[in-house]
């Protein structure tokens, strides 16, 4: 990865930007990576400044997003390698971490990563109990017990004997 940067001496003077998380840490990012985020691209088009402060994204999440952006901005990597990086990127991540990530990618408008994370979240959710979903998304059940029973009765086939998970 490092060698590819040195490959093109004519374009080696790459511009970079500094992105600061809400905890105050700063990250140096090449402009080619930053513009993969539609939000950052817009900011860079409008402002001369090379420092962008993100008040909603914490250190840990920002570091992950930047790792993603840098990998995808690397012209030396094949599409196949990038795809397997994406798979690796979300695998094994906690649901909470994915929530931070999905919010950050939504804020920064990194569409591809947003889809990848959303897909991973759905993959975790698909066999979970409704109660688990309510807990994870902090949702109040606003059905009456009768109304909830009725809605389940109407779609009985979706509630077969398959084991649904609560954790």
């Amino acid at each position: 990865m490092v060698t590819t940067d040195e490959k093109g001496p004519l374009t080696a003077k790459k511009k970079s930007v500094i992105i600061r998380s809400c905890d105050g840490d700063e990250f140096l990012v090449s402009e080619s990576a930053a513009v993969l985020s539609t939000s950052l691209k817009k900011i860079l088009e409008e402002k001369e400044d090379r420092l962008i402060h993100l008040s909603d994204i914490d250190n840990k999440t920002l570091a992950m997003v930047i790792a993603y952006l840098s990998t995808h901005a690397d012209d030396g990597l094949s599409d196949d390698l990038k795809r397997s990086f994406d798979q690796e990127f979300v695998s094994g991540k906690e649901f909470d971490v994915l929530k931070y990530l999905v919010l950050a990618t939504d804020t920064l408008q990194v569409t591809c990563l947003c889809y990848t994370v959303a897909k991973k979240m759905a993959d975790i959710m698909k066999n979970k109990l409704v109660e688990w979903v309510r807990r994870e998304f902090d949702i109040q059940n606003d059905y009456t017990p009768e109304a909830e029973a009725e809605i389940r009765r109407l779609d009985a086939w979706a509630w077969d004997d398959r084991q649904l998970e609560d954790d």
Binding site: V102, L108, K126, D142, L154, D155
Partner: protein, 414 residues
């Protein structure tokens, strides 16, 4: 000077929101993005998470995002029976795996499944009717979504039930979720040797509305096919019929402008083959035409109609010889008493034509003596996806429908 640029998340709602989870679930676009990746079964369960989730999942815009049109069929419904009695409808997934999603094995919406038959399948919805009443004006007609297991009953048609002259000759469903979450049903009734169209729209509700003037035609109204915003009826191939009307025109009726038009002539076989069953087949927004070859050759063409109705062109050349090698009985020649003896009916039939995402994914579903065979047209590979069992034990004639009705996943309301 440092510029602080705040990229904010739904700033107006943040004041009341405390947890990360609440932020995620407060952004509908984000939530929808996640929900789109869930299997249908999970989605249906998650309608009971909250009223808000229910409204998101039930929204026609979500349905369309989830199952854009065209959306390939994942299985097929087969009418089955023993000796014609107590018919039922069997669901056969194309994957051949019974447990695949959704898990129904029978069509499940009526208390007495033997009372229900499928008339047509259209982009995720089925048009069904009761079968008990001899006169079809007395029958009830339903539009049914097998995925959500919801149906609605169509209003009754006007007319004297004992008047043959007001018989229903055909019922067709027109539904394209990419255009509208509403559907229309087109009914064709015969009236003094002429035909009259009537239309029901789910957007405006009943009653049925007469459409245009009575007209003459020589088409098969029972097997109309919806494609490109219109219902298409194929010529019936009879000469010198009772109507003293000789036409070689297939017709189509655009449900939006409500105009009846003539289709380009079909690439017909020679006149000696007139008794073949002609059929249109729709799959993934393509209209096809195959001569259902009874007793004729094992290779034939699949024609496709151009979107602008300029011509029929050959889409596939089908060669069934690999299947014939495995099931030699399928071309057993039928003796001349074919029309005399109902038991000696044709031994195989094309039940469905399904287009894949790529041209080479397309396949036919064949019914060979009670087995449903999935036959890939391009690669000429095949597998048995369903076998009608029990007939030997029961000692009764088994019957597997000659036509299957495609199952397409859809969350659309009816």
């Amino acid at each position: 000077m440092k510029t602080k640029i705040k990229v904010s998340v739904e700033a107006q709602s943040l004041s009341q929101i405390v947890s990360l989870s609440q932020i995620v679930s407060s952004i509908d676009d984000l939530l929808i993005q996640i929900l789109l990746y869930l299997p249908i079964k999970s989605l249906i369960r998650f309608k009971s998470v909250s009223k808000h989730w229910n409204s998101l999942i039930d929204d026609p815009r979500f349905c369309l995002l989830r199952n854009p049109n065209p959306n390939p069929a994942v299985g097929i419904f087969f009418p089955c029976s023993f000796s014609g009695f107590n018919p039922w409808i069997e669901y056969v997934p194309f994957s051949g795996i019974k447990s695949s999603n959704p898990p129904f094995s029978k069509l499940g919406f009526n208390k007495r499944p033997s009372d229900i038959r499928i008339i047509c399948s259209c982009n995720g919805l089925l048009l069904c009717s009761t079968t008990r009443d001899y006169n079809n004006l007395a029958r009830r007609y339903y539009v049914y979504n097998p995925t959500s297991n919801k149906f609605s009953t169509l209003p009754k048609l006007d007319g004297e039930e004992d008047w043959i002259s007001s018989q229903i000759c055909g019922m067709n469903l027109a539904f394209d979720p990419a255009k509208s979450p509403h559907y229309k049903v087109v009914c064709i009734r015969s009236w003094r040797y002429m035909y009259q169209l009537e239309v029901y729209s789910s957007e405006t509700g009943g009653p049925w509305r007469k459409c245009g003037e009575p007209f003459k035609a020589q088409v098969i109204f029972q097997t109309g096919v919806y494609w490109n915003g219109a219902i298409h009826w194929i010529i019936n191939g009879f000469r010198n019929s009772l109507h003293f009307w000789d036409s070689r025109d297939s017709l189509y009726f655009n449900v939006d402008d409500e105009i009846l038009r003539v289709m380009p002539l079909l690439p017909l076989p020679d006149a000696s083959n007139w008794k073949s069953n002609y059929r249109f087949w729709e799959s993934c927004d393509h209209l096809h035409y195959i001569i259902d070859i009874i007793r004729s050759s094992i290779s034939f063409n699949v024609y496709e109609m151009r979107q602008d109705y300029s011509e029929w062109f050959i889409k596939y050349r089908v060669d069934l010889s690999p299947v014939v090698a495995a099931f030699p009985e399928m071309i057993r020649s039928n003796p001349i008493n074919f029309y005399m003896d109902w038991r000696n009916r044709p031994i195989y039939a094309i039940c469905s034509l399904v287009r894949g995402e790529k041209d080479e994914d397309s396949f036919l579903v064949l019914n060979i003596e009670g087995k449903a065979i999935r036959y890939n047209i391009v690669y000429q590979t095949f597998e048995t996806i369903f076998e009608f069992v029990g007939a030997e034990v029961e000692g009764r004639e088994r019957f597997l429908g000659r036509i299957g009705y495609q199952y397409i996943e859809s969350l659309c309301g009816v």
